[in-house]
């Protein structure tokens, strides 16, 4: 059958398809659609930088303008992934520098980026406009100077919560005087003071600046100077929100905020002095996103401020808000969709705030749109979880961290199986779940049975046996990411569900009971998985086969075993595992 549409018509039609899912589907129809699609794909998202190689990507998609890459596993955020594990952006930048001269955007998460990489980026892509580095590390402020100096049309520079070696604040002064393109600047993770006058001038000459997140070193007294020059700001991250109590500072601040008619998001608030919170009252009713999670303000100042924000959709806050504050929130903020409550004192067994399961229940009752929760607390009950589940069947992200591992229902001393079971049973659209507290294999049975849309599951100090893991792997049809620590899960469930792992992005297991022998077997059976054993104590074959590995990271890949592994990471593949087995069988090398 002859081609019904000319190529350029198809290409035009495809240009309306932005989602990868749709583009992937289109590319499977026939060879010509595959070719047209691949030549016209402009945006690439790679959730695991080791799942594919730069060469393969470039070969298939020769004209990409925006790349998003993720490197280290999520548990790297909590120091569970040893330093030097990997996630280097270097090979990507080098390949793309040659292949994608028109590249505009690079977004990286949990990757290692060096100053040389930043220099290469700044010099290789003439139209470079967006650089987002979330939770990255390996670079210094010198690298940022290259970006500032060389990227003529830079629109977005977002350093996220990256670990930047802060040599000086001078880098900001490298933005040339004719740079007027900035739309978003986030330098909140930096410690050094940048030249304030350089910052002021930069802000003043960028009329499209919508997002400005300052670092702690920018003093509160100077904030009005910036706000007056950027009244069009939509998102503001303050610097340190403290100053001596002086009426002129307060009035300048109030006046400056009054001018910010577009402001919708607020963050920052380090070292907050509560007396200055009312300076923002004029914008409170506009605010939809509020991040007070670094603000050590307490009640009543805290709840008073939050209650002013009647249109709040997202709130991140410390547990200083307490149950009473959350009850007020539930009454005042009917549009609330996302709540995150962080612990002010995570290592204190007792805690000195009255934040319990009651606060979360209150919000679940009062806020009909609540769909995303991250909650750190010190006690929980099945009854509370059941109430939350029944109140909010629209929940899609539920992450609960009870600070004491294996803490039971504090009222009945039972496991929290029933509570989490209620969550997965009622919240049918649940995409992400993190659990804590005392949990047996039963909770995994509930999850396997009900959590059909679940994509990401985080488990710690839970379960009794392999059956738990088996329920999850065999039941959760949509599972993409599974991360487990300190659970008695071992070989049987893993091997029995080996093929499941190819349908997922990745599996992380640390301090579990998976044996070295099972890892080898898995690596042999599944050539399209990289089965990586992380053993800091030494090669996994230095003990018997049934010895558990320290950490295991399994992910699907079409790039084969990676070549940049440090000394404490071993890939179990056909060649390697047979070398290991020869050794243990005593055949020698």
């Amino acid at each position: 059958m002859a081609q019904s549409f000319p190529e350029d018509v198809l290409e035009h039609v495809f240009s309306f398809l932005n989602h990868d899912r749709d583009r992937n589907a289109v590319s499977l129809v026939c060879k010509s659609w595959y070719d047209i699609e691949r030549l016209s794909r402009r945006r690439i998202f790679i959730g695991n930088c080791y799942a594919v190689s730069p060469e393969i990507v470039i070969r298939r998609f020769p004209d990409v303008r925006a790349v998003e890459l993720k490197g280290k596993p999520h548990f790297a955020d909590f120091n569970l992934v040893p330093e030097g594990w990997g996630g280097y952006v270097y090979p990507w930048v080098v390949s793309m520098a040659g292949a994608y001269p028109w590249l505009e955007e690079i977004k990286l998460k949990r990757m290692v980026v060096t100053d040389e990489n930043l220099e290469l980026i700044s010099k290789s892509f003439k139209n470079f406009t967006v650089l987002v580095l979330l939770s990255c590390e390996g670079f210094t402020t010198d690298g940022l100077a290259y970006i500032a100096a060389n990227c003529r049309n830079l629109r977005e520079l977002d350093l996220g919560e990256s670990e930047v070696e802060d040599l000086s604040g001078h880098w900001l002064s490298h933005f040339p005087d004719n740079c007027t393109s900035l739309v978003s600047l986030n330098i909140s993770c930096l410690g050094s003071e940048v030249s304030f006058s350089a910052l002021e001038r930069l802000v003043a000459r960028c009329p499209n600046l919508k997002t400005l997140r300052l670092n702690r070193a920018v003093p509160l007294e100077k904030l009005p100077n910036l706000l007056c020059r950027a009244p069009q700001l939509v998102e503001l991250g303050t610097g340190a929100y403290s100053a001596e109590i002086q009426s002129d500072i307060f009035s300048n601040l109030s006046e400056a905020f009054l001018g910010c008619k577009q402001l919708k998001g607020l963050s920052g608030f380090w070292d907050v002095v509560p007396a200055y919170l009312p300076a923002m009252y004029s914008v409170c009713s506009q605010i939809t996103s509020l991040n007070l999670s670094y603000a050590t303000a307490q009640n009543p100042d805290l709840v008073q401020f939050v209650s002013q924000c009647g249109n709040l959709q997202r709130l991140w806050v410390l547990d200083y808000i307490e149950d009473v504050g959350l009850e007020a929130l539930a009454a005042a903020c009917k549009d609330l969709q996302e709540l995150r409550v962080f612990p002010s004192d995570p290592y204190d067994a007792e805690g000195n705030v009255t934040l319990t399961e009651q606060g979360l229940v209150a919000v679940s009752e009062g806020c009909p749109k609540l769909q995303s929760v991250l909650y750190f607390c010190r006690q929980m009950s099945n009854a509370a979880l059941v109430a939350i589940a029944r109140n909010r069947p629209n929940m899609i992200r539920f992450r609960l961290c009870i600070i004491e591992p294996r803490a039971p229902d504090y009222l009945t001393l039972e496991p929290l199986d029933a509570g989490f079971g209620a969550i997965v049973e009622n919240c049918k659209e649940l995409l992400r779940l993190s659990m804590s507290g005392l949990l047996t294999d039963r909770v995994f049975e509930y999850i396997g049975t009900h959590a059909k849309k679940l994509e990401m599951l985080s488990i710690a100090f839970a379960g009794d046996s392999d059956l738990g893991l088996h329920h999850v792997l065999s039941g959760c049809e949509s599972l993409r990411k599974l991360e487990i620590r300190d659970c008695p899960f071992g070989d049987k469930a893993l091997l029995a569900n080996a093929t499941k792992l190819e349908t997922m992005r990745s599996l992380w297991m640390s301090s579990c009971s998976v044996s070295f022998g099972a890892c080898k077997l898995l690596g042999q059976k599944m050539p399209r998985l990289n089965v990586e054993v992380i053993n800091e104590r030494g090669p996994p074959d230095s003990g018997p086969e049934d010895c558990p590995v320290e950490k295991l990271y399994v992910y699907r890949t079409i790039a084969g075993p990676r070549v940049d592994m440090p000394g404490f990471v071993w890939t179990m593949d056909e060649r390697v595992s047979s070398r290991f087995s020869r050794a243990t069988e005593g055949h020698g090398d």
Binding site: F78, G84, C189, Y294, Y347, G543, P544, R579
Partner: protein, 227 residues
């Protein structure tokens, strides 16, 4: 290097491996540790060549206590001791620490002030770790944690009262913990009171004793002053 290996093998023969100091994570097998004593020709990336094991004789009498403490830790991990729990990002932890300690203007590697997280490197080991100094209250706790992280290595507790012991330690090819302070100077760990150390330490490096000799003079002086 061979001398080091000979030492290890002899000690194993003497059955002294029971007195090895180590903190076992759930599921560790003692056998792994024993096997690590022997050079493994299958060792992949030169890791084995850099292993040196120091058995900590000065702590022999405290071994039993510590073993009990370890068992206890495995059953009910104390919050401060469990790596990565509660799951709070280091970025956040650092910021909270800094705010608690008041807002001093410090510029350090994490960019947010405070000295909570410092990088730890060990000569010959192919990787770095990070420790949060605020998690510990004494040098011994820190050494225990370092020992756990760098597994087959155990870090000697420096006996600052004993000058000759210090000399032995430094002449050995064993390992000695050193740190870089705020002024960029490299010092022997244990030189100053714990709290002062936490404030001033920017990074840790576990050096071979022979290399640390240059740092000895100040420590030696301290010994002299105390005795």
């Amino acid at each position: 290097m061979e001398v080091g290996v000979m030492k290890m093998v002899n000690k194993e023969k003497l059955g002294l491996k029971e007195t090895e100091l180590r903190l076992g994570l759930p599921g560790t097998d003692e056998e792994i540790m024993a096997k690590n004593l022997i050079m493994n020709s299958n060792g992949k990336r030169g890791y084995k060549e850099t292993v040196d094991l120091k058995l900590n004789f000065s702590d022999m009498d405290r071994t039993d206590d510590r073993k009990e403490k370890n068992l206890h830790k495995e059953k009910t991990p104390a919050k401060a001791q469990v790596v990565g729990w509660p799951p709070v990002r280091s970025f956040r932890k650092n910021i909270m620490e800094v705010q608690k300690n008041g807002s001093e203007e410090t510029t350090d590697k994490t960019g947010m002030g405070g000295a909570a997280f410092v990088k730890v490197s060990m000569d010959g080991a192919p990787y770095l770790r990070k420790v949060d100094l605020k998690m510990y209250t004494t040098y011994q706790e820190l050494f225990d944690a370092l020992g756990k992280m760098f597994s087959s290595f155990t870090i000697g507790m420096m006996d600052f009262m004993n000058e000759s012991k210090l000399i032995d330690l430094l002449n050995d090819s064993d390992y000695v913990p050193t740190y870089e302070d705020k002024d960029g100077d490299w010092m022997l760990v244990g030189d100053v009171p714990w709290k002062m150390f936490v404030e001033s330490c920017k990074r840790l490096r576990i050096m071979k004793g022979t290399e640390a000799i240059g740092l000895a003079p100040r420590a030696m002086e301290k010994c002299k002053n105390r005795s």
